[in-house]
Assembly symmetry: C2
């Protein structure tokens, strides 16, 4: 969920970024449409966006949130022109007024092939991303929604405050109704612990 700040980017990537014109998005605007066949990679300069997966019924599951200084891609958070999850539509949407710059996949691929520093930087990002995804996958199976929510509160309080409740539910993989129940139970527990 946490990408590096731009200042950590390798110089060649910073240069590419500087050449991309920034664009502004309002709350709820679409950066990447779930049906887009070859979406760009976005650099989020300021604001907040969500990366989500759409199922056949139109329900969305939030794969992650990305704030200032992070890279997001509908394909998989970094480049690649090959088909990702064939029957799975991924989208990116602004949750707050957001300024972002678009990087073409082809451009990034060319850069990483010609610049070893960029390539190795990508590898480190991707390894970290992979580790996070593995951890989340195991969490979804092995822990209850209540446990996941409690951990979310501990580790990502900063982002939670900026999100409407139904987006948090989408991130936990449950419905807003279920999250409301969980929060009530937690409140009750906290109360009884005090008394």
């Amino acid at each position: 969920m946490k990408n590096p700040m731009q200042s950590d980017f390798p110089p060649a990537l910073q240069a590419l970024l500087a050449r991309a014109a920034p664009r502004d998005f309002t709350n709820g605007a679409t950066l990447i449409d779930a049906t887009d066949a070859s979406p760009p990679v976005w650099y989020v300069e300021s604001g907040l966006v969500r990366l989500y997966a759409l199922d056949a019924d139109g329900h969305s599951y939030n794969l992650g949130f990305h704030a200032d200084g992070e890279l997001v891609s509908g394909r998989l958070a970094l480049g690649s022109d090959q088909v990702c999850c064939v029957d799975r539509a991924l989208g990116v949407e602004a949750l707050q007024p957001t300024r972002a710059r678009a990087l073409a996949l082809a451009e990034l691929d060319r850069l990483r092939r010609s610049d070893a520093e960029v390539a190795n930087w990508f590898i480190e990002r991707l390894l970290q991303l992979n580790a996070e995804r593995l951890g989340r996958e195991a969490d979804l199976v092995q822990r209850s929604a209540a446990e996941r929510y409690a951990e979310l509160l501990r580790k990502n309080a900063g982002i939670i405050e900026r999100l409407p409740l139904h987006q948090i539910a989408g991130w936990l993989g449950i419905t807003p109704v279920a999250l409301s129940r969980i929060r009530r139970r937690m409140r009750k527990q906290a109360d009884s612990a005090v008394s």
Copy 2:
């Protein structure tokens, strides 16, 4: 789940692999212990292994299976010496008699830094891995175990046949009992469809 065959590996990586002595494992043997702090990356020459996550109660969830010609790592299926999921133990275990070669993380890191071809090959593997993980994560949330099982049958029949039922259940994120129920329901449906 599907890594490339060795013949697709870049030459420098093939050379590194050739220098690593093969080791043999029997059914149930441990390639990577869940408590190992800096496990190697294994190249599975022949056989079948599972990569799993252990929760606090000792229940295991199968993140994936790897057969002939694939690379597996407890950290995240390819290199990196940084801590992965802090509170999550990952292990690798042989499910059949398996021959594998160990590659040290440090060795791989050095190689990818000095060889641009290797670096870019890693990037492509990692992008694909990432895409698969994203798809699986969304599946866990958005589809029922029965749907996941049906898709598994369609796409990975080859690997399923070689697995005991409780390992498949561990891969679907359910218990063997639940999988048994699902299979019964599917049999009933198939029967009634015939009549």
